[in-house]
Symmetry: C2
């Protein structure tokens, strides 16, 4: 009898040099700078695409889970930075619902706007706030990456979701220029664009 | 130093009773009946939601990877049946791109129409054909499940994707009535709806 493989997704080993569970990033800009550093390091160390993300406690800025794109190394088209951060966070807090009432308010910070897949991940994750860096246009222009058929009003669809308890606050274009630098560096290195 | 958990997603142990890698399902109906049986068994054994999916070689019907919803047990909001089948298939064939030119044509068969998240998964997976059972309306009506903000023309968006090599053939409503029975059984058992 032939059986089927399990799926094991691991963040790169260098993550522990940059990120510690429980470290505190008080401002939104510090949180964004951290995920841009994850994206930049992922490019530098050749461990994946130019994208970084992390789940934080929104009120305190405590880091719950980092994420980087490991699509190629992980042999997994789902393993975008946002998806990794959400999945690691769900393992860390012990539930698939990051909006569970016993948890503090959790947010996802991501160096680029989510693609169609990550937008769907956000939808079901229970995350309560989303903070993004580069826009779709910048991700396309500087990184050559397509975001898929995401509607132009994707952020409003999250904001206006019903019931109101499942609505997601969205803050866009935080330090977008700094995040663009990483996309450009990846393109210069001729990284794989998928 | 506190580190971060890895993500390990496993299909339920009973999968080996129903599914063997390399088994052959010649017709589309046989493939759909197989994924409906996965969905039904997932409900019966209390291992997850009423959804089953599998990746097959489209021309031969050889089973590459089964999938069932393990959102609760896996503590992972991404672990829908379609996502599991795609991820297990990518591990089995050794690449994130199920549309890679060295592979046979691969298809995803799913007992219910994909939600917004699984639609995004299909988009980046490289899968070349998608075969679905119940419609959005049936999944809502009989299972109480919401599919999220997926556009009504989701299938045409896959079919008309450019470049043409990345377009996805879509065949809908295969054995939908049989798939609805599983949704109803789940509702009767008062399964968790997320």
């Amino acid at each position: 009898m032939t059986t089927f493989p399990n799926i094991t997704l691991r963040l790169p080993d260098w993550i522990s040099e940059l990120a510690q569970a429980g470290a505190r990033y008080p401002s939104i800009e510090e949180r964004m700078r951290f995920v841009i550093a994850l994206a930049a390091t992922n490019v530098e160390r050749n461990t994946g695409g130019p994208f970084g993300a992390a789940v934080f406690e929104a009120d305190t800025g405590i880091l719950v889970a980092p994420g980087v794109n490991i699509v190629e190394a992980g042999r997994c088209s789902l393993a975008h930075a946002e998806a990794m951060a959400l999945m690691v966070a769900q393992q860390a807090v012990g539930t698939y619902d990051l909006g569970a009432t016993h948890l503090p308010k959790l947010e996802l910070v991501t160096s680029s706007q989510p693609c169609i897949q990550c937008w769907g991940n956000v939808w079901w994750s229970g995350i309560q706030r989303l903070i993004t860096g580069t826009s779709v246009e910048q991700t396309q222009k500087f990184g050559g990456f397509d975001e898929g058929p995401i509607p132009p009003n994707w952020a409003d669809i999250l904001r206006n979701r019903t019931p109101k308890e499942r609505a997601v606050e969205v803050i866009e274009h935080v330090l977008a220029e700094e995040a663009c630098v990483v996309l450009k560096r990846y393109t210069e290195k001729n990284g794989v664009v998928y």
